[in-house]
Amino acid sequence: MSISRKLLGTLALVAGIVFLADTAAAQQDNLIDTIKKRGKIQVGFGSFLPWAIRDKQGNWVGFEIDVSTKLAKDMGVELDLMPTAWDGIVPSLIAGKFDVIIGGLSITPARQEQVDFTEPYSQSGLGIAASKQLASGLKYPDGYNDAKATFVCRRGTAACKTAEEKWPKATIRQFDDDAIAFQEVINGNAHAILSSEPKPTFFTLQNPDKLFKPTNENVTTTVEGFALRKGNPAAIAYFNDWIGKNKDWLKQRHTYWFKTRDWAANVPAS
């Protein structure tokens, strides 16, 4: 008797969850309409220099923030910024915590299996910075393909993937946070770091006796797109259209954040 009652309770719970999941799926059909009806676009992103960082007042600034702000304005809706831990950013999107990721998420085949991407709205490169103490004798790039060479990178980023592909023999250590990963190289605990430019360049300039750049060219070039839950072709088309119309503006903003340091006065890192 008690067992069957428990079973009934469990069944009711499962049914409830399935029902809720169903309604959540139904809401996805028309994302743009949902956003406009709500009067608010929820944007997920992770904190990453200079994509999205806190300024001295604690407000969000950065390339992504400019993009999201303009997108929301053009759509005529309020912007709801949802800073999200990088590890959980794709699951959070899939779970419906926000409408779209505008977070410097590079378009990779693995990610495309989970989410849909728009056309690229930005193009950036992965750069390398290496430890003077450990790596000055190594010949770039083949000298780094050695089990004794250690690469560090931020977990879950394209950098780790690229390091694995380019230097399959090297040891790769992954960190939750870029700042800590750079510190490892500065301390002489790792040979090199792979990270999205302009960070490797900035750090090398800030730590000239500890770091150097084996090459000034990008290790690879990555493209970034807005990421959406699967099955929103109308919304993808809408965002693609917006990106197309704002190509020049996007390029100008990208240059401002990635090629200049004009913004540095408001940001504590400088």
């Binding site: 428990k6 969850i17 220099l49 806190r54 709801d80 831990a85 959980g88 779970a95 890192a269």
Partner: protein, 304 residues
């Protein structure tokens, strides 16, 4: 309860008198700490710079020119709110489940047993992810807390923001709170069960033979004694809860650890932020330990 049992006495303040042995030990400690500091400075190539992180504790409001809390203090408040409500909720869950675990009814025991076994045997990080993405993401929209708060009157909103933080993040806060409480509740359950079962069976039988009802036996005989027994382990568990609250930063609850990471990215000052956050957690946890010390002594005084 007249027999004196030293095991039941709370730690009491002892008279202190330093001997030469203490002096030697103290000197040794200073040497070891000094050696570590020296090692850290020589191994770790790091230019300490505290000045960039202070503005994240307090900032000057450009409008009024006054000091206002910035990210660190906001995160600290969120952590404190998580801790206080978490202790309350985990305490309630734990007490109910602890009673269920010692219940006469098989169904109640089954529910409480499954709850404890399920949570205690999976790692916290996995639990947080599973709970948030599979369970809470279904429950939270259905509860509609956020909508309800946004519809509330301004006075109500002000109170709610004191109790639960900024209205915009209230869904986020409850998500973290429920996650943390359900998780810690399982451990509290075991502590409560142990407390109840530590009460001598003869006392329950004595209560029964006096014709007391089961609730009365529970209320007047079992629980008062159980409470005294569980206070020390409960203090440990609640301190653990405060530290575990940093786990929910993984699912983007904007508490102290989450803010700390944002600030590390913005300032690139990794270790200063770590040290500051460690000090803040220590202050909260140490404060709670002291509070429980007072409660323990008071409970012992009532012990007659």
């Amino acid at each position: 309860m007249t027999n004196f049992d030293p095991a039941r006495q709370p730690p009491r303040k002892r008279r202190r008198r330093a001997t030469w042995l203490d002096a030697v030990l103290a000197a040794l400690c200073v040497c070891v700490v000094g050696y570590f500091v020296w090692r850290i400075n020589s191994v770790l190539d790091y230019g300490w710079n505290w000045s960039t992180i202070w503005p994240f504790v307090l900032k000057t409001d450009p409008a009024s020119g006054r000091w206002v809390p910035n990210l660190i203090v906001e995160g600290l408040f969120t952590t404190i709110r998580l801790a206080l409500w978490g202790i309350l909720l985990a305490g309630i869950i734990g007490t109910l489940m602890g009673l269920a675990r010692t219940s006469r009814y098989l169904l109640l025991r089954l529910i409480a047993d499954s709850y404890v076994m399920l949570i205690r045997n999976i790692p916290p990080v996995v639990f947080v992810f599973v709970f948030v993405f599979f369970i809470a993401s279904q429950i939270m929209p259905a509860l509609g807390i956020g909508d309800w708060v946004r519809a509330a009157s301004p006075t109500m909103q002000w109170w709610l923001s004191i109790l639960f933080g900024p209205p915009k993040l209230i869904d986020n806060f409850f998500l973290g709170l429920i996650c943390l409480s359900v998780f810690s509740g399982a451990y509290v359950t075991e502590i409560v069960r142990a407390g109840i079962q530590s009460v001598n069976k003869a006392q329950i039988e004595a209560g029964d033979s006096l014709g007391m009802s089961r609730t009365d036996v529970l209320r007047f005989v079992v629980l008062p004694q159980a409470l005294r027994t569980v206070l020390p382990p409960l203090a440990g568990q609640f301190i653990q809860l405060i530290k575990d609250s940093s786990l929910v930063s993984l699912v983007s609850i904007q508490e102290l650890s989450f803010m700390a990471q944002d600030i590390q990215v913005a300032t690139q000052r990794v270790f200063e932020v770590f040290v500051l956050v460690a000090v803040l957690y220590f202050v909260i946890c140490f404060g709670l330990s002291q509070l429980f010390g007072v409660l323990e002594r008071r409970a012992a005084r009532a012990h007659r």
